[in-house]
Structures are given as C-alpha cells and as structure tokens.
Homo-oligomer: 177 residues x 2
C-alpha cells in the first residue's frame, strides 16, 4: 500500500469550521513524539528514506510504532512506500537501532487531531517549533495513487485550502532547516 | 541485564526425570521460529552480534519479538547483552529490516519446553535438524554474572548433566556448520 499525503500550512480554527460544514467526523487527539534515525551505511537525506520510532499518547495510553519510509515515488504529492509495525517498548526499539549503529537525528513533537471525511483522514497538526498544518491522507494500492492524489487536492479545496500551498518537506526537514 | 546461558546436548527423557526429582515446575511448551539477519554494514560473524526476529506460537497465540544480541562478554559461558522488544507483526518487522539492507541469513525452528528451578529457567529444546538440547539460563546484573554462571553449572550437575559438555556455538552457528 502507498500513502497519499498532502500537507499545507493552515489556521486550524478556519479549517475546523469547514470540517464541521462538510460533516466531518472528529476522531482522537493524540500527542506524538517521533524520533528519526540516521543510518550508519546510507545517507537517508540522499536516499530519501526515513526510519522512525513514534511514541503516541492517547489519554492515559502510550503506544509505539517502528516505521520505515521509502523514497518518494511521486513528485507531485509526498507518496511513499511505508512499512510499519507496533512495538511493545519504544525505548528498547530505539536501543536496538542504536546498538546496530543507527543514531537519533531529531525528535518531532506534535499534537494531532484526526477527522474522517469519506475515505480520507484529515489531520490537524500543531507542531512544536513550526506551527499549524493540515494533512489529507489515504492509503491506496499503487494503481490508485494518481486518482487518490487528485481527490485529496479536491478535498483540500472543499476545506477552503489551496493545494498550491502544498509543502513536500517533512516536519523533520522543516525543523532541521 | 545480562543473560547467563549454558547449553548442553542432552536426552530429554532422562532430564525430565531429573527435573521431576528436583521438584521443577513445568511451564509452557512453545514453537519458535527465529530468523537471523545479516547486516549491510557489519559482519555479525566477526563482531559476534546477532539480530533476530522471533515468532513464538503458544497454543493458538502467535507473538513476535525483535532482539539484538551484543558480543559475548564472558568466554566461559555465553553471556551477552540482549535488547528485546515485542513487535506487533513479525512480517512487517522483517520487511523493515530488509528495506534497510539487512538480509535473512537462516531460520532456526525449535520446540521449547520451559521449567522453573529456583531462579533459573531450564529449557528443553528440540531443534529441527540438530536434535535435543538443554539450556539453563537466568538474567542478572553485570556484577552477578560470575556467581550466576557457577550456579548454572551446579544446576546442570544436579540434573545429571556435565557442564564440560557445554556448547558455546549458537543453534544458528550449528545449523550453518
């Protein structure tokens, strides 16, 4: 599966009004802390890959996930191959990576609220040190990437946002800039 | 914590009798399939490290764990630093490792039965392609490694086994020989 994901900077108050008008369903609000790792044998900045340990706090529950993101397969959106599994203990997962020679590069912290609009997730991100963003995302098979990306642009317009404002740089990249 | 682990080849029927006489408590029997990975940037055979995805089937339940084993810190036993975390999906964990350039080297399959004798776990392993082994193991802080290893040797003798038969080669190593 490929993740189609389009991100724009956006004032959350205005977007919340548009989401309500569009009949969007509000989901959970979570705190995410994403630690990205450098590899000992590849320059992820050149290969356009990423390796991440994500800690997610939802109310009193804390979950962790290990994620590999492959290079972008589409220059118009940020579509990548993504492989992910839950891990029991984020600290142990990080310690295994460090023992193998990977090193923590930076940690991105954000407060994220999910909305569902049809097949799409609309997420409102408040990113520490960066500000407010909206992402529209959906996982689809490779054959459906083009259609899903076009529909994501239409959804952004429905929410009063301009797809031309799309930012292809990751939060990690923006923080490191 | 360090894992003190002593392994000898042993006929399981005889050891089961000795365990019963020693008042050992029989625990679970599980099927384990351990896939070991080669690294793209280090020769684990030279560095004496290991990276493993373990699938464990207990009755109808399947669990998976990701484990890093550091070099042996003790030439007399097989003591190593071990870092481990449960993973939600063994296939996804393996796919992440492969995307990062690690490659599956071999898979060790065994049927393992646990017994508890005091602070020690005594495990009876029936390893596909290798035969029957007994391992005595315990996790201890670094300062207690010497004492724990001596006590493991004594326990082996109590079970009618000879510590001099100790095999320091891993099942993976034995299979690859």
């Amino acid at each position: 599966m490929y993740e189609v994901e389009v991100k724009v900077p956006a004032d959350h108050d205005a977007v919340r009004d548009a989401l309500a008008a569009a009949g969007a369903e509000e989901g959970a609000t979570v705190e995410q802390a994403d630690t990205y790792y450098d590899a000992p044998h590849r320059d992820f900045a050149s290969t356009d890959e990423a390796l991440r340990v994500r800690r997610v706090r939802t109310g009193d529950t804390e979950d962790a996930r290990l994620t590999y993101k492959g290079p972008k397969v589409d220059t118009r959106s940020k579509t990548r191959e993504e492989i992910e599994t839950g891990v029991e203990d984020a600290d142990d997962a990080g310690a295994i990576l460090e023992a193998l020679g990977f090193s923590p590069a930076a940690t991105v912290r954000k407060r994220r609220t999910y909305f569902a609009v049809g097949e799409y997730a609309v997420v409102l991100d408040d990113v520490a040190g960066l500000g407010e963003y909206v992402e529209v995302e959906r996982e689809v098979p490779a054959a459906d990437v083009d259609d899903a990306r076009d529909a994501a642009y239409e959804l952004l317009e429905t929410l009063g946002l301009d797809p031309a404002d799309q930012i292809r740089t990751s939060y990690l990249g923006l923080l490191l800039e």
